[in-house]
Every structure is written in C-alpha cells, then in structure tokens.
C-alpha cells in the first residue's frame, strides 16, 4: 500500500474532552480520518489549559492528542447551534465518539439511539466511566481512581510501601485504544452490510481488562497477587539493579542465564550455593541473593554492565528517563519522533507503520473554533 492514510475519506465527530475520547479520536486522525472536535465556545476542551508548558495557548498534552484535528465550537445551550451540530452529524459523519458525563448526550438529543434511528449507517461510540449498567453507572471516573478501583495499584509498586499510580494514563489511553478497536471493527462490518453499530467502552472495563492474567491466576488458585517493585512474581533474579549511574533491569529467567550472570559479576560461588540452585530456591532466598549481587552492580555504570551482559546473552535494559529514551539511537532510527512543520515541540507519532511507512505529522492542534466556517459552510448542510 502506497499511502499511510488508510482511513482517508472517513469523517469522525468527537464530542469529547480530557484524554480518553480525544486519544481514541487522535488514533483515527493519525490513520487518515478527518476528525472534527466539538468544543464549547470560550475555554474549549479543559486539556487545552493543562500546562505549562504551552505552545500558542495549547498545553503540550493537548497538542499531543489533538494534532491533525479540526475544531468547531458549539454552544450546547443554544437550540439552533445544537440543531446545526445534529444536521452536521446526520448529513456528513461516519463516526461519532463521545465521553460526556452519563446521560448528557441523550439529554441534548445527540445520543446513539436518536441519531442512529435517523441514520442507521452511523457508528456511534460511547466512552463511559463505569460502564452502562451496575450500581456505579452514574459515577464519574478519572484515571487514578480507576487504577485504584480496578486493582492495578494493588500489583504496582513495592510491597510494604504506599500504592503508586502508573505514571502514565493507561486507563484513559487504553480506553481510547479500545474505542478505536471497536470503531474499526464496526467499520469492517459496515463495509459489508451498510449498517452502523453502537460501540460501548469504559474506563472501568479497560481497568479490569488490564488485569486479565492476574484474574485468571486468581480464578484458579485463589491467591491474591501482590506488588513486586521492579520485578515480576516468581522469577529471580529479574528486577532493576542500581549501578553507579542509574538502574539496569536484568532478566536472568533460567538456570543457564543465572550461571552466566554469576560469571559476569565474577561471583562464581553463587552457582554452587544450594540456596540459589534452581529458580524456586532463588525466589525463596531472594534477599540473601540480592545482598550479594547489589553491591557488585553499584561499582560500575550501566553501560559497563550492559556490554558484559549483552556479550553473555543475558537480557537487560537500562531504566531510561524520557530524555534518554527520546535521544536513543533506536528511537531516532524508527522515526517515531516527528518534527511539527508548523513549529512547536516535536511530538511522538503512532506506534504503527503501514507498508513500512508511519503516518506523518502534517499539522498541529487546532485553535478553538478554527474550522467553524469550513465545516458549517458545507453546502450539504443546507439541503
């Protein structure tokens, strides 16, 4: 395929704010869809103001997930403006994606049922907080609350220490990804039958979804999984070790790799010690083992150990900061960091390529209402 705009020709209306719906719609925009973001006049999406840093009045976070979109303003309290948005959707849209608070779009006459009754080919995606049913269906949801409530915080961080939040919005962004998956599946069906679909995703369902392997284990043995810091349950040594200049994750997941590690660290007696013979022994005696290993790692910088571990075939990787990651030759080689042709900060692109080509960055984020004339001036809306 020659183009990296596989969704060209598809029109998406985003009635969304904050992260979840805008991130889902951003994925579609990167894939070539025309995404029209509906904002309230004046302040627009709250995320525009989530800074510093700002670039042309847009917070970096807003810019990252709203580039390639068009912006129109609609005052939802104004009947005529709301009617105009409704006409826009019915006459020109393929997809609606929304994350207003529960019941809001229905109250505005812009819900899935009302719109699909008039336009059966419409694909309509609701992104909720706690999902459509259940005692919590009307509660609001935020990423940190979902990390707590869905169980993720119970398996993240160090045992005996306070909970930690995953330092990126995996509930919001994950729900955006599920919305994209649902919409694309519905599109595949519409390609065959002409019929649209209502797709429902929610932050809470996403949070439960992240726990799938933990839940399967729990369902079988009833043991509640705990927190393992930088490590994983049941494999030792498999964690971050502090070197002279930072941390390095070392994954010596079997006996051969453990023997190789003992060689690299110049601690040959480790392999003769009955406490460290097999992985189950090492799991049981992890503190004793680390008491021997930790001081050795501290003597040299990460690059020193990485070279030796690479040569010995032991999987390892440094814990890089955002700055180190973005500067890494591998990151540069992949071309995933994209310069913005209209200025402003560089931005990271979609983690996907089509025919070897990653969708390009051609346009930054829109000003509030920048595309009102273009979108609402469409002659199709008059007939």
């Amino acid at each position: 395929m020659a183009t990296a705009q596989p969704l060209a020709g598809l029109r998406v209306i985003e009635i969304g704010a904050s992260v979840a719906a805008p991130y889902g719609a951003w994925i579609l925009a990167e894939l070539g869809a025309e995404v029209i973001k509906v904002e309230r006049p004046g302040k627009g999406d709250d995320a525009r103001h989530w800074g510093p840093p700002f670039w042309q009045d847009m917070a970096a976070m807003f810019l990252a997930i709203n580039r390639h979109k068009k912006s129109i303003t609609v005052d939802m309290r104004d009947d005529a403006e709301r009617a105009r948005l409704r006409t826009l959707i019915l006459k020109t849209a393929d997809v609606v994606i929304q994350n207003m608070r529960p019941g809001k779009v229905e109250a505005l006459g812009l819900g899935a049922e009302a719109l699909r009754a008039e336009k059966p080919s419409l694909i309509y995606c609701n992104m909720g907080a706690f999902g459509k049913q259940g005692p919590f269906r009307d509660r609001p949801g935020y990423d940190p609350l979902m990390q707590a409530f869905g169980g993720l915080m119970s398996v993240t961080g160090e045992a005996g220490r306070p909970p930690v939040r995953v330092g990126t919005s995996i509930m919001d962004m994950g729900t955006g990804m599920w919305a994209a998956i649902g919409i694309l599946s519905a599109l595949r069906e519409r390609d065959g039958t002409g019929a649209g679909t209502t797709v429902d995703a929610s932050l809470y369902e996403t949070s439960i979804g992240w726990m799938t392997t933990h839940i399967a284990k729990f369902g079988i043995d009833g043991a509640v999984p705990g927190r393992h810091g930088s490590g994983v349950a049941g494999i030792v040594p498999y964690q971050a070790y502090e070197c002279a200049d930072g941390f390095l994750v070392v994954a010596a997941g079997n006996d051969a790799l453990f023997a190789a590690l003992a060689g690299v660290l110049d601690l040959p007696h480790l392999t003769e010690d009955a406490r460290f013979k097999g992985n189950p022994d090492r799991v049981e005696n992890v503190d004793a083992l680390n008491a021997l290993i930790v001081p050795v790692f501290r003597t040299q910088p990460r690059a020193h150990w990485q070279d030796k571990l690479d040569a010995a075939g032991i999987p390892c990787g440094p814990t890089q900061s955002t700055a180190e990651v973005l500067d890494h030759p591998q990151t540069r080689a992949l071309g995933i960091v994209q310069e913005n042709p209209v200025g402003g900060p560089a931005l990271s692109g979609l983690p996907l390529s089509f025919g070897g080509v990653r969708p390009e960055l051609t346009r930054g984020g829109p000003a509030i209402g920048e595309h009102n004339d273009e979108i609402f001036g469409d002659p199709r809306l008059e007939t």
């Binding site: 970096a60 915080m153 160090e158 330092g167 994950g174 998956i181 519905a186 839940i215 900061s321 560089a346």
Partner: protein, 379 residues
C-alpha cells in the same frame, strides 16, 4: 449490528508465542474472526508452560486467557513438506497473518510478508516485533519488563527516591497486541476499498514510546523529563492515595470547589482558609503539609466511612482494591465482564467492549495443542 460478530468470516493465522501476538489475535477471535494458531509439535507455545497455576497440564492461566476461541495446528518447521503445506494454506485461505517470531525466522521458512504477499496481494501481514524493523537494536529480543525500563515507563512509575517500579501488568505486551489489532483492522477497511493487502508493523518498543506520548510532548516543551510521583498526579493536589485505618483510598480534590467539599467532608472546613491551601498551585507547593493534615484525619476510620462522606459531598474517590475485591465487586458483575465457556470448564474475562449493547461471548476455551491440525491443514 446484525447478530453476527463484527469480524465473522475473517480468517487469521497466528505465528505467535508468549503474550503480544496471542493477545492481539485473542481480540480478533473474540470479535468473531477464525484464528488458527500455529504451534511447534511437542511443547507448543512457550506460554503453555507458564504457570502455575493451571486448570490442567495443558491449560495454565496465562495460556488460557490469551488463547480462548482459537484453533491450534502443529507444524514442524524442520519439515519442508509441513512448511509448504502451511504456506499454501495461508496463501489460499488467510486474510490476516500476525507473527512475533524471533528476528529472521519467517524469512528462513519462506513465510515473510514479501514471500506471502507476492503470492496473495490481498493478504494483511502484521509483524509484531521487539525493537522495530530498523535501528541498531532491531535484532535484540524484547521482554515486557525490559521494555518498561528502556522505553521510559519505569522512570515515571514508583516513588521518588525509591527504586524504579514496574507496572504490575504487561502493558507493553498487551498494548502491542492492541496496536496490532488497530493496524490490521485499519488495513482491512482499506482493503475493502482498494482490494490490496498491506504490511503492518508494530513493536514492543514503539508501544512503550506510545505510552510516553504526552510525557514526550512535555519534555520537548520544557526540556525537563517527567519524574516519579508515587500515587500523585503531577501538579494536582490533593489527588492521590491516602491511608485509612483498613487500607488506601484515592481522593481527587482536583479543583477549589472539590477541595472545599472535601475539607468539609473530613470535618476541617478551616483548611480552606489556610493561605497555603488557597488554590491548586499553592496546594501543590505545600503538598507535604496538606498530606500530613489529611493523613492524621483519614487514618482514624476505615475506607467505607470516608467513602460514604466523600460520596455524599460529591468528591470523587475510590478504594485501592485488590484483585479479589475487584472481580467480586457488584459493578464488575453487573457489567457481565466475567464469562464462562459453554462446557463450564473455563472462566474468562470478556472483551472490554460491547457492540449494540452485547459483549462478544467466549463459548469455546483454548485449544489443545494441534487439536485442529487435521481440520485446517488436512491429512
């Protein structure tokens, strides 16, 4: 939507092991595609051995959640006839191939994108790689914890001044499975218009970078990399986990209005008059003092006590639930997230998506190794 699942009629061949590729094809299988999992004779997918715990020797926990609703065929890659038979099957029958084998293997067996798409230009071929298809690390293997480390996720996860923490679930592997799915579904839509297939490339490393999406934008804007902030949300206070007498409660008093309601609910309206806590920026600046005051109050009573008070005041909050609490919660049950296979052997978590109100069911559990070899590849 009609009563058919959205991907009914689509045939997928998975040349995959472990988590990333199998998770992506599990999503496709659950949405109605026929997924044929290709495994080596004897031990099959490595993931079959990962455990305990296990339902039986064939079905340990990891394998079963990633492979329900699939068919399994065994192919001996050292046998040219068997490889030729698989190649013929793919060229004649498959819409989509998803593979995450070690770098170089598919080329060796004539199963690369170039080989297969030359014979079937409609084929969609998804390569789910470790570090991507270019660059100095393109041949390195990748594992979820290493990718969380070198992709930057660990640098923003955990407490400042403490060792890095891994996200306690495989967000790199599972995230890559989700990107695989987004890629192949997009290619499928395009094929409907053009008749042409497409190669889709995703990788663990790119997924890790994807999770850093807004941190990258922030870094390019300020030149300062993001730090670890425990359970806090950077720049917002109070917005974190607080210890009650029986566990932790996350409280989100994210603006002045909610802070006032929260202070009243906790019985300390005078906090709102303290100049240190007058606005969000000053609360963030004085967060340690604020937390000390809140900790002293919250530690007096259990979570349920404070939840009732905060709910009544309209202040967003949630307890940090463990897995047993989360799966048993009435909300989880009401949503129908927990499913059972028709034979009642396997309890599985459903797709976090519904189509016209219906969550795709999982009537069939994971396949035994090679269960469908004869059906799919013939004698």
């Amino acid at each position: 939507m009609t009563d058919k699942l959205p991907l009914a009629g689509i045939r997928v061949v998975e040349l995959g092991t472990s988590v990333a590729a199998p998770y992506g094809t599990w999503i496709l299988a659950t949405m109605g595609a026929e997924v044929v999992k290709v495994e080596r004779p004897g031990t099959g997918d490595d993931c079959r051995q990962w455990g305990p715990p296990s339902v039986s020797d064939d079905f340990r926990s990891f394998f079963l959640v990633l492979n329900a609703m699939k068919k399994s065929v065994v192919v001996d890659f050292t046998n040219e006839d068997e490889v030729a038979r698989l190649r013929k099957y793919i060229v004649e029958n498959a819409d989509i191939v998803v593979q995450n084998l070690r770098a170089g293997l598919v080329e060796k067996f004539g199963l690369s994108a170039d080989d297969l798409m030359a014979e079937n230009p409609r084929l969609i071929y998804c390569h789910s790689a470790a570090f991507g298809t270019e660059g100095p690390y393109k041949d390195r293997p990748g594992y979820d914890p290493l990718m969380q480390a070198c992709g930057g996720v660990m640098s923003v996860n955990g407490e400042e001044g403490r060792p890095p923490a891994r996200v306690g679930t495989s967000i790199i592997d599972m995230g890559t499975g989700m990107w695989n799915t987004i890629g192949v579904l997009t290619a499928l839509h395009q094929r409907n218009a053009t008749g042409e297939g497409c190669r889709v490339d995703a990788s663990l490393y790119e997924t890790a970078l994807g999770w850093m999406h807004y941190h990258a934008a922030g870094y390019f804007g300020t030149g300062v990399p993001a730090k670890r902030v425990g359970s806090r949300a950077p720049g917002i206070a109070p917005y974190q986990a607080f210890e009650c007498s029986d566990g932790y409660l996350v409280i989100a008093g994210a603006n002045d209005r909610l802070f006032r309601k929260m202070a009243e609910a906790l019985g300390h309206p005078e906090w709102c008059d303290d100049p240190r806590f007058a606005s969000n920026p000053t609360r963030w600046e004085n967060i340690e003092a604020l937390c000390a005051l809140m900790d002293a109050v919250l530690s007096q009573h259990p979570r349920a006590h404070w939840q009732d008070k905060l709910d009544a005041a309209g202040v967003p909050n949630a307890p940090t639930q463990s897995i047993d609490e989360a799966v048993a919660h009435p909300q989880t049950l009401a949503l129908g997230m927990l499913q059972e296979t028709d034979d009642q052997i396997f309890k599985l978590l459903g797709l976090p998506l519904r189509f016209d109100g219906n969550r795709p069911p999982q009537p069939i559990g994971p396949p035994a190794l090679g269960e469908h070899t004869k059906e799919i590849l013939g004698d």
